[in-house]
């Protein structure tokens, strides 16, 4: 199978920070807002280099979303960032009315999504945010898989007119996508061609899917691995082309199985080409404290869980 090398573990939030640094230097309309989490969002360099284009709003996320909407009036491109929980669930109505329904060009950038923020526990581990955001008409939802892709996505969304939810995380994970890979919103990436099963993964689970595919190959199972970094708009064609070939699919995401990538894929398949599907996702539960690795193991979100799901779905073909 196609070989991927970890160029050195890095956190995806630092990819966001690196993307913001570049945008600060290249796009004078980009402005940043943050709700008392500058260090966690890794935007210190942007702030240092562009102090007049940074707005520290304090612990006041509702106001931040409204201010971001207002800043678009006058041509600014606001990147409003905080933890995923406070960037979505806490401010759903502000995003709905002042940003999405008002067609505002706001980029909502959310770190610490999913279980892997770890020890802080379930109050901070949102597993519903993809669902919340993808249900909003006009909202683009992106969940990149590593440092390089998060940086590329951050830069790409500045060029896209319209509201975007960009989701990334806290832990250091494998950085394996090419450093210069162009990020195309809505375009799935084929990571490994296979014939027996399709694994469609997003975010941190993409690397886990590659690990699973490698192990499956040793068992004589040929797994196709697709990186869906854009959950909305979804690349229906890439999904259908693959599943028509393999006949079954496993979706993998660090999110509740209700409302996540898996359900979006199921909708595409049900409407066009029904096929057996297994969902690697949390099972309608809250998280808890623990290390990221412990949590991914306990809640079934790692390469072993993907492998087990593949073996299960193959029997249903």
């Amino acid at each position: 199978m196609t070989k991927y090398t970890d160029q050195g573990k890095q956190d995806t939030r630092s990819g966001y920070g690196a993307g913001m640094t570049e945008l600060g230097r290249t796009n004078p309309n980009v402005v940043a807002l943050c709700a008392d989490l500058v260090g966690s969002l890794k935007i210190e360099t942007f702030i240092e280099e562009n102090p007049e284009r940074f707005f520290q709003v304090g612990i006041a996320e509702a106001n931040m979303m409204g201010m971001a909407a207002g800043l678009t009036i006058g041509g600014k491109i606001p990147f409003a960032s905080t933890f995923a929980n406070f960037a979505t669930g806490r401010v759903y109505d502000q995003i709905r009315q002042s940003i999405a329904y008002s067609d505002k060009n706001v980029k909502i950038c959310a770190s610490h999504s999913g279980l892997t923020l770890g020890e802080d526990g379930a109050t901070h581990q949102i597993l519903e945010d993809i669902g919340l955001m993808k249900m909003l008409p006009g909202m683009t939802v992106i969940n990149p898989c590593d440092f390089n892709q998060t940086k590329a996505a951050t830069i790409a969304i500045a060029e896209h007119h319209g509201p975007v939810y960009l989701r990334f995380g806290r832990p250091k994970v494998a950085n394996f996508t090419p450093v210069d890979q162009k990020f195309e919103i809505g375009k799935a990436l084929m990571l490994n061609e296979g014939t027996d099963v399709t694994i469609i993964a997003t975010g941190h689970l993409v690397w886990q899917a590659l690990l699973a595919a490698e192990s499956l190959e040793n068992q004589g199972i040929s797994a196709e691995v697709i990186n869906i970094h854009t959950i909305k708009p979804l690349d229906d064609k890439a999904i259908l082309d693959s599943v028509k070939k393999t006949g079954c699919v496993v979706t993998a995401e660090e999110h509740n199985y209700l409302g996540g990538l898996g359900e979006s894929v199921a909708r595409v398949l049900a409407s066009n080409h029904p096929a057996p599907q297994e969902f690697v996702a949390t099972q309608d539960t809250f998280g808890e404290s623990g290390t990221p690795e412990q949590l991914m193991e306990k809640y079934g979100l790692n390469n072993k869980a993907i492998e087990a799901a593949v073996l299960k779905v193959l029997k249903r073909k």
Binding site: N63, G66, M67
Partner: protein, 281 residues
């Protein structure tokens, strides 16, 4: 610049528009709309510096945000009569396929509206963002906003009030319509708001009051005074006392007409109290 009589004629005509709009579809919010008629007429015809036509960015002109979006009838009437869209379009208020939605929105492309509002408490944050964009753009024009007093019960306002003062957003003039009423009754009974002016003051705003927000001359003078206080390091708040349902005797001194349309007889009575001036749509 229109003279006072012309503005007063416009006030009466806007009242007629409001009453006829909500009567036609038997829904909408006449009470707060009538209470703020003088404010809107003054703002759009005497106070704000406006370009011809409409563009979303509003660079090089003053801009306005309505936070308490339910008083859309007065907003629509004044926008139409200021030339943002055809006056006849007021006929489509709240009808299917209309740009004049129940609450204002940018979604249908109605000129003059820059953000959706209706879910309360969000407008000041948006106004602050727009004011900051003006500063970044080197645009010395102002941002105005209007808020209901009951709306101040929404916590987001206080985040915004704190931010604007703490960050010297001094190109912003936020007016609170202190009509003392909300859907369930008097604001002081539903959830006491207390001394609005003092609250803004201790948060660090420059506050002035318009004692009678239904006296056109007082409103114009108050808004002009507020303009003169901008650019001095503090956001400016106007606490404007109004009478809900002003100009229609049976709609005044009660919260009953917050979100209720008049019957045929009530409409006839109300219109009789406000004879046609500039021509009905």
């Amino acid at each position: 610049m229109p003279n006072t009589q012309e503005l007063q004629d416009l006030v009466v005509q806007v009242r007629r528009d409001i009453l006829r709009m909500v009567h036609k579809v038997n829904s909408g919010h006449p009470g707060g709309s009538l209470g703020c008629t003088e404010f809107f007429v003054a703002l759009y015809n005497e106070v704000m510096e406006l370009k011809d036509g409409f563009d979303m960015d509003g660079i090089g002109e003053d801009i306005f945000f309505l936070s308490n979006g339910h008083i859309s009838p007065v907003f629509y009437s004044v926008l139409a009569r200021r030339g943002y869209f055809p006056i006849e379009e007021l006929n489509t208020f709240r009808l299917i396929d209309s740009r004049l939605q129940g609450h204002p929105t940018t979604h249908e492309g109605l000129p003059g509206v820059r953000v959706a509002s209706g879910s309360l408490g969000q407008g000041m944050s948006v106004a602050i963002g727009a004011a900051l964009a003006k500063k970044l753009n080197g645009d010395d024009h102002l941002v105005f906003s209007l808020h209901g007093d009951g709306e101040l019960q929404e916590g987001q306002n206080w985040e915004a009030i704190m931010y604007a003062a703490g960050n010297k957003v001094d190109n912003l003039i936020s007016t609170v319509d202190r009509n003392g009423q909300q859907i369930d009754g008097a604001t002081e009974d539903v959830l006491p708001i207390g001394d609005v002016a003092e609250k803004f003051r201790v948060f660090g705003w420059d506050v002035l009051e318009i004692e009678n927000g239904n006296d056109l001359e007082q409103v114009v003078a108050g808004l002009k005074e507020a303009k003169s206080r901008t650019g001095k390091g503090k956001p400016v708040c106007i606490v404007m006392t109004t009478e809900m349902g002003n100009g229609v005797d049976f709609m005044m001194h009660t919260h009953a007409w917050h979100g209720k349309a008049p019957s045929d007889e009530q409409l006839a009575n109300a219109l009789e109290q406000n004879p046609e001036t500039l021509g009905d749509y």
